[in-house]
Structure formats: structure tokens, C-alpha cells
């Protein structure tokens, strides 16, 4: 098994334990759903610029291909609710209705943030393939009220590489949850985006505070270089 790393990251070379392998690392793709980055979805209905949430899609597709090639565990998450909204907290529902994008309301992509609707699907660029893990979550964090922690531990995962949308909301919440649970996290700066550029930048900077309070950040090129270097070394030996 090839050993990868360290990746040139901030504020420290990632991971803190120097190396990672395909067997102990998971790539997590957070909420690349039509509702968050597709026309007619939830984010579009709220009036935000889709270019901001779509910016990380192409680099993420490249990283996804590399992770599949390396044999890493690939995990996709989807935010959404049961059709009867029984897993949607009433304050979450009320807030969404108040800004004219009510969860469960009919839209161009079906009912907003509801399981099985067009808007709830992952966009084609990073669509899951057979054998990849899909986590459906009712909240922002991918660990709360899901079996993600159990799945990761069962696979022996120690390191997590994060991509997805939006940086300051679902990606940050999930990174915080993972870090609190002892996973060593890397967030890829060009594989994520937010509905506000300032919040995207602040969210990235927060990760690097206090010596890497939630882990580290790096551009995807740094990760890809690390993967390629290990592959080249394996070919030589």
C-alpha cells in the first residue's frame, strides 16, 4: 500500500502524523446537490449567485477521479428531509418559508430539500458510482443523526479530505464534528465554495487558527502532487 504525504498545507504539513494511505483515508464530498449548486434549486431560489457554489465543482471532479484511482473510501452526503418533513425541525422550516424558499415547497426541481426530488440529487459532475457511501443528513453536520461515524470507523479511516458546499455551513460543521471525533482533516480550498465570498475566506482562515484548530487547508494541487509522487516512487521501485 502506497504511503502518501505530507501534503503542503496550512498551517502545518498535513497530516500531523506525516503520512496517509488509501486504506485509512476518506474523501468526503458534501452536498453537491442541485438544491445547492444547480439552476432552480434551493440556493438559486434564495437568490444567491450559483457561480459561487459551483466554483469548486471541476477541481472536485479531478480529485474524485484521483481518489477513486488510489482506492480511497469515497463518501457523498446529501442534505434533505423525509417527504412528510418529520425530520425537519420546525424552526428550520419556518425560517426557510420566511425567505420564500420553504422546505417541502414545490419548485422548478421538485419539492425543496426533500428526498427523491430532482433538486435533492447530486449533480452529474461528481455523481456517486456503485460501491460509494451515500450519507443522508437532516442537518448541516454529516455526523449528527447519521451513521457516518460508524461507517468511517468500520473502514478504519483516520484521515478525512473534505470538499463540498457550502464552506462556512455544511462543510465547516462536518469538519468540526470530524475533528472533535479525532479524525485528522484536510479541507481543499478550491474544492469548496459559499454563498458569500467573505464568509468563504473567513471559514478557511478559521481552520488555520491556533495552529490548526480544526485541521489544515490546502489547494487540491498539493494533494494531487502528493498522490502522484507516491505513484511515481512505486513505479520506480
Amino acid at each position: 500500500m502506497s504511503e502518501f504525504g505530507p501534503v503542503a498545507a496550512e498551517p502545518y504539513a498535513w497530516p500531523y502524523d506525516t503520512t496517509f494511505t488509501a486504506a485509512d483515508t476518506a474523501l468526503i464530498l458534501i452536498d453537491w446537490q442541485v438544491d445547492f449548486c444547480g439552476p432552480g434549486g434551493y440556493v438559486d431560489a434564495m437568490g444567491y449567485d450559483l457561480n459561487l457554489t459551483r466554483a469548486g465543482l471541476a477541481p472536485t471532479a479531478t480529485v474524485l477521479a484521483a481518489a477513486r484511482e488510489a482506492g480511497m473510501l469515497v463518501v457523498h452526503t446529501r442534505e434533505g428531509h423525509r417527504p412528510d418533513l418529520s425530520d425537519c425541525p420546525p424552526n428550520k422550516l419556518w425560517r426557510s418559508q420566511r425567505i420564500g424558499a420553504g422546505i417541502g415547497d414545490a419548485g422548478p426541481c421538485g419539492r425543496i430539500l426533500v428526498h427523491g426530488e430532482v433538486g435533492w440529487n447530486i449533480v452529474p459532475e461528481v455523481e456517486p458510482i456503485a460501491g460509494e457511501v451515500i450519507i443522508d443528513k437532516p442537518g448541516k453536520g454529516a455526523f449528527y443523526a447519521t451513521d457516518l461515524d460508524l461507517v468511517l470507523r468500520t473502514h478504519g479511516i483516520k484521515h478525512i479530505i473534505l470538499t463540498g458546499i457550502t464552506t462556512d455551513v455544511c462543510v465547516h460543521t462536518t469538519m468540526r464534528e470530524a475533528n472533535d471525533r479525532g479524525f485528522e482533516c484536510l479541507l481543499l480550498t478550491d474544492c469548496t465554495g459559499a454563498t458569500d465570498v467573505g464568509n468563504y475566506k473567513a471559514a478557511l482562515h478559521m481552520v488555520t487558527m491556533q495552529g490548526g484548530v480544526f485541521g489544515a487547508i490546502a489547494p487540491s494541487s498539493a494533494l494531487l502532487e502528493s498522490l502522484a509522487a507516491a505513484t511515481a516512487a512505486a513505479a520506480v521501485s
Binding site: N91, V169, T173, R176, D180, G198, A203, H205, M209, Q210
Partner: protein, 189 residues
């Protein structure tokens, strides 16, 4: 309260009910600045909250157990004396909900409305607010009762709350909450 909170009149269900309310005081080790004044303000708010029938919960956050080192040994205890907390929670990480009885305690007491205070805003306070919001708690970040590590990231932490109509809840001043708790509600005609 209605005009004083952003981006919506908090709490979502209408008039603030102190029996549903808890003041959450998050403390963290490694203070990078002087929090003496903040501690005094939180202590005064804690007494007003309790007098109105709300609970006070202190969360002594720390680095995740797997990442804890010597630097994290130092700890400040915020509340003592008359303003001491009703419940003290000691998580093995930044989020006060993960691996602690916080959720059970709040549910048992019927408290689903949280005012978040303490330090640091971008780290333990935000992680706890996010976790509370995902669990259905109605959260308000008290902007005058928190301290951040950095002005830019503090601004980002507050701005993020305001996105999508209040994605983690709302922000407002602790002072306005105390005023709402101590002022008889106006009769509606």
C-alpha cells in the same frame, strides 16, 4: 425583541418564554486576550437570566481528546458565586453537545431556546451553536457576550449565521434579551 435581532425576530415562536430558555456560557482554554470584562458581563447576564426563570449552563470546551497537549492544560473557570452555573458540561472537544449529557439535560428541563455566550466565537461557541441548531434548538448568539480570536473571522462567524434566513439561528445583544426578560410584555389590543 423582534426588531433587535438579525436576520429574523428571535425566537421564531414569538414571545420569549424563560422556562424554555438557557444561557449557554462557553469557555475555552488558552485565552489570547483579557476576558475579565466579558466574564463580568456574562456573570451579570447569568444572574438576570436565572432570576427570570432561565437556566445557566457552563460548557468548559477544550481541544479534542485526540489532539490535547500541554498547552491546553490551563483553564479559566468563568462563573462562581451567585452567578455560578446550574449545570457544568465538560466536553472532550469544542462542541458542547458531542459526547456530553447537555442535550439530555436541556430536554429534561424542557429548554429548547438557547442564548450563546463566551469564547472563542469562531471555535467552541460556533461549534456548539451549530450542534444545537442541528438538534432543533432555537439559538441566539449574544454579540455583546462573546469574544473572538480575530476581527475578520469574528465578522465571518456572525455573517454566516445570517445567511439563508438565519442558517444557525439569529444574532442580537444579550442586553436586549435581559430587557425582554425583565420587562412585562405589552398587552396586545
Amino acid at each position: 425583541m423582534s426588531d433587535l435581532t438579525t436576520p429574523y425576530p428571535w425566537p421564531w415562536y414569538g414571545e420569549l418564554d424563560p422556562t424554555r430558555l438557557a444561557l449557554v456560557v462557553v469557555t475555552s482554554p488558552q485565552p489570547s486576550g483579557d476576558v475579565t470584562t466579558l466574564v463580568d458581563s456574562i456573570g451579570a447576564a447569568a444572574m438576570a437570566f436565572r432570576a427570570a426563570g432561565a437556566a445557566v449552563v457552563e460548557i468548559r470546551s477544550a481541544a479534542p481528546l485526540a489532539k490535547r497537549d500541554q498547552q491546553h492544560a490551563a483553564r479559566q473557570v468563568v462563573l462562581s458565586g451567585a452567578d455560578s452555573a446550574d449545570h457544568v458540561i465538560e466536553p472532550y472537544g469544542w462542541d458542547g453537545f458531542h459526547g456530553t449529557p447537555l442535550d439530555s439535560i436541556l430536554r429534561a428541563e424542557g429548554r429548547d431556546t438557547l442564548v450563546l455566550s463566551g469564547w472563542w466565537l469562531e471555535v467552541a461557541v460556533h461549534s456548539t451553536m451549530r450542534a444545537g441548531n442541528d438538534r432543533g434548538y432555537e439559538c441566539l448568539l449574544a454579540t455583546d457576550l462573546v469574544a473572538g480570536l480575530d476581527p475578520t473571522t469574528s465578522a465571518g462567524a456572525i455573517s454566516s449565521i445570517h445567511m439563508s434566513g438565519g442558517i444557525f439561528g439569529a444574532t442580537g445583544s444579550g442586553k436586549s434579551v435581559v430587557e425582554a426578560l425583565t420587562t412585562p410584555s405589552e398587552e396586545t389590543s
